[in-house]
């Protein structure tokens, strides 16, 4: 039998970083094939290459035995490859049916859009998916779960031979997930090959035939689902080299700084709880999209809290905006230094002084001498490499930018510092320096809450590890006892089905 899809030794680099290294994958017609791996393992990159979003640097892709060349999104769709992206590709103010047939609506005389056909075709597709929504309703008016299904309907409208689903259940309820599984099984029984990208191990055991595991852009193994178990899969996913050794705190932690209990906010955070004490590093681990950043933003006053209690330094604490949290003694180094962290067009002095304008001012007037001295202090203590503190921050390297971002918050002398992805996109040298800085803060009695998607980083830094999944805090591990397997086991819990790894194992 000819394989539906064959990927041979595909590699891809972004800005010199190898995202995929000689990865191979094969999917038969009618097969549901899972793609599994940690954050950043290369699952999404591989899916996007097959769907023509990215070009592979090297390697071959064959569909039904025929090699595909110079694949684009449009030519992939014509060839019969459909993809449902993780993030929405829908246009909010258009109707469901217009979205499903976007780009190639049924037409009649003189190229007019045939509204009647558009509506009936869409209704038929939606019914196939077990959904009874009006094809004329605006996408913006639909709840997010239904939007996801419209995305799937859109992919199905191409009558694909190969369908790629990238984390399709992230926004779905249990019943909707069941219905989706029914649709996927039905498609497979008609000979459609399905690539199913998911972190949720329970779903893989329920739905898929085979599973291919990726790790750090490398192909690890392909196994039959019926011949494996959760424990074995997790072992295949982890196993990265530990570059940095764990350095536990020299003294036991002090009293509790912040105690958050049952915090909920929007669709992203559900009854999450955490405690951070003076002089300890607590890492918030979990998969991308598990609500860690959003949880931290609630603590920092940057996101509305709908319910739950927070005590900070023993008092009830409800910041209305970051300014309130900052004044109380909380700092937050955000995840995306370019978008939400730094003022790239402004110099180092201004970027460090922005949080402490009062302290560097004499009366009403900003003292640039004080601000400059402050920046010089941090340039020295954090080892920021720059020709001058009057350099525009946008011109610095990633590692140095990250240090400026830290400096901005260290300047406020916070009691609690939240650090979201402390070392994203920085080199190994800067990484070890940032770890040194964080540990020094710990020894000075600062409480640190570190969000990280990098498991070796979590293991190197954490005194305690709190794991989040689907917006909930699902478990806590001590830094000394945790390993990648125990963290992932908690992080891949499906909190809706309750299909814990232990049950399926």
């Amino acid at each position: 039998m000819v394989l539906r899809l064959e990927v041979r030794n595909v590699s891809k680099s972004f800005l010199g970083v190898r995202a995929l290294d000689k990865v191979s994958l094969s999917v038969a017609p009618g097969e549901i094939h899972a793609l599994l791996g940690e954050n950043g393992a290369g699952k999404s990159t591989l899916s996007k290459i097959v769907a023509g979003v990215y070009d592979a640097d090297e390697g071959e892709i064959l569909l039904d035995g025929k090699p595909l060349h110079g694949l684009t999104e449009a030519s992939a769709a014509r060839a019969g490859i459909g993809i449902v992206h993780q993030e929405g590709s829908l246009i909010d103010h258009l109707s469901v049916s217009e979205n499903i047939y976007s780009g190639r609506p049924p037409t009649s005389f003189l190229g007019q859009i045939d509204r009647r056909k558009l509506r009936s075709w869409s209704a038929e597709l939606l019914a196939q998916l077990g959904l009874h929504i009006d094809p004329d309703s605006r996408v913006a008016d639909l709840p997010s779960a239904l939007r996801q299904v419209v995305e799937i309907a859109k992919a199905l409208s191409h009558r694909p031979k190969l369908l790629i689903l990238d984390e399709p259940t992230a926004a779905l309820t249990l019943t909707e997930t069941d219905e989706l599984f029914g649709v996927v099984r039905n498609l497979a029984s008609q000979g459609v090959a399905v690539i199913y990208v998911s972190h949720r191990l329970g779903e893989i055991f329920e739905l898929c035939h085979r599973v291919t595991i990726l790790r750090d852009g490398h192909y690890v193994d392909t196994v039959k689902v019926s011949e494996t178990n959760t424990e074995a899969l997790i072992r295949l996913m982890v196993g990265r080299d530990l570059e940095f050794a764990r350095e536990p705190a020299s003294a036991p932690p002090g009293e509790a700084l912040i105690e958050a209990h049952a915090i909920s906010s929007g669709p992203d955070v559900h009854e999450a709880s955490i405690t951070v004490r003076r002089g300890e590093i607590v890492c918030l681990a979990g998969l991308v999209g598990s609500g860690r950043t959003e949880f931290c933003e609630v603590l920092f006053g940057a996101r509305r809290r709908e319910s739950g209690e927070v005590m900070f330094k023993g008092r009830s604490f409800r910041p209305r905006q970051p300014r309130d949290a900052m004044r109380a003694g909380i700092g937050m180094v955000c995840e995306d230094r370019k978008e939400t962290g730094l003022f790239l067009e402004r110099n180092l002095v201004e970027n460090t002084a922005v949080t402490v304008l009062d302290a560097v001012s004499t009366g009403l007037v900003v003292s640039w001498a004080k601000a400059g001295a402050l920046a010089e202090t941090f340039r020295e203590s954090l080892g920021i490499v720059t020709p001058s503190v009057y350099q525009k921050v946008g011109l610095l390297s990633g590692g140095n930018q990250q240090k400026v971002l830290l400096a901005k918050w260290l300047a406020t002398k916070p009691a609690l510092l939240i650090v979201d992805e402390p070392t994203r996109g920085v080199d190994v040298g800067a990484r070890s320096e940032i770890y040194r800085i964080l540990r020094e803060l710990r020894s000075e009695g600062v409480g640190l809450l570190v969000v990280s998607s990098d498991l070796p980083e979590v293991l190197a830094l954490a005194d305690r590890i709190v794991v989040m999944a689907d917006g909930r805090t699902v478990g806590e591990l001590s830094g000394a006892e945790a390993d990648e397997v125990s963290i992932l086991r908690l992080a891949t819990v499906n909190t809706q089905t309750g299909l814990e790894t232990m049950e399926t194992a």
Partner: protein, 338 residues
């Protein structure tokens, strides 16, 4: 002092500026900052006109006329520059100006209140108009373009409803504040000078106004750095409104007449001067000095067109072309720097 303040944007208080590529060449240094470019343009324009028309141009009477003409825009450009540094702008200032003038004129001319009270009421009316703009933008989250486009129309209509065909004359006591002379120059010029100096100092040096550079540079990052972005944006709109109110009162006093059609179109010429002076629609850039030099340039071009007989119809052409040229030079510089 002018140079000192303009330099401060990138390298505060006498610290060495960071070398950017292209600044070492002569042309690069001249074009290094927009205020410098504008200053040179203004000097060239003045020199050329003084040589070509010594009898008409280089006279005290003509200079004071130019400065008086520039006074209104000079007051307004301070508020507009602050708004634009913070990433917003206000299209309703022409209507606010007329509304404030009519309120002051009606209180003094029709109802017989003292001139001083009329002036304060006019400024307060402007501030209130600005407050409404600011609340619409910050509380309702409506884009400044749409919000102030709407209030431009609303405030003008309100002016016509209150003022009917205008208030003429207002009163001699009121007139005094717009016509009194000092060193041969009428009061609007001196008011502008005070506002410009205060504004330049505040924006360059004070912690409150420095925050607008952060807001315009990256509003989300500013909010996450503990800056109260909505409140400061609101403040900038109130300040803009108060300055428009002040300009409206002065215009009414100068003519001893509150005209309902006052200030039509000033928003565009003030925004032109502001962008010419180094502001960008994205925000985060610009200096008060730059904006004032932009106003001066527009006033000089207008004056030159009248004196040399080419005609005022060419004025718009020249200002438009200089604006395009200045902004494209910037883009060229940015591209070569990368």
């Amino acid at each position: 002092m002018m140079r000192d303040l303009t330099m401060r944007q990138t390298a505060p208080a006498g610290f060495p500026s960071t070398g950017k590529s292209g600044e070492s060449s002569l042309a690069g240094r001249i074009l290094a900052s927009r205020p410098q470019t504008l200053l040179i343009l203004n000097v060239i324009l003045i020199a050329a006109m003084a040589i070509a028309y010594p009898a008409n141009f280089a006279t005290q009477a003509n200079f004071s006329a130019v400065l008086l003409n520039a006074a209104q825009s000079g007051i307004l450009v301070v508020g507009m520059m602050i708004l634009m540094i913070g990433g917003a702008f206000d299209l309703s200032i022409g209507s606010t100006l007329a509304l404030s003038g009519v309120v002051a004129g009606a209180l003094v001319g029709w109802l017989g209140y003292p001139a001083e009270l009329g002036i304060l009421a006019g400024i307060a009316t402007g501030a209130a108009a600005g407050l409404v703009n600011g609340l619409i933008v910050t509380r309702l989250g409506i884009n400044p373009l749409i919000a102030t486009l709407a209030t431009l129309s609303i405030y003008r209509s309100l002016t016509q409803l209150i003022g009917a065909s205008g208030v003429t004359p207002i009163s001699n006591a009121f007139k005094f504040y717009g016509q009194v002379k000092f060193l041969g120059l009428q009061s609007p010029f001196w008011v502008m000078l005070v506002i410009v100096v205060l504004g330049a100092w505040a924006v360059a040096r004070t912690k409150v106004f420095r925050q607008y550079y952060f807001i315009g540079g990256n509003a989300r990052a500013a909010q996450l750095s503990g800056i109260n972005v909505p409140r400061l944006t609101l403040m900038a709109f109130v300040l803009m409104g108060a300055l428009a109110g002040l300009a409206g009162v002065l215009a009414a006093a100068r003519l001893n007449s509150a005209v309902v059609s006052a200030g039509i179109g000033v928003e565009l010429s003030v925004i032109t001067a502001t962008v010419l002076g180094g502001a960008s629609l994205k925000g985060g850039e610009g200096t008060i000095i730059g904006g004032v030099l932009g106003v001066l340039f527009i006033a000089l071009v207008q004056n030159a067109m009248i004196i040399n007989g080419i005609g005022v119809f060419w004025q718009g052409m020249i200002i438009g072309l200089v604006l395009l040229l200045a902004v494209s030079l910037n883009r060229f510089k940015q591209r070569s720097a990368r």
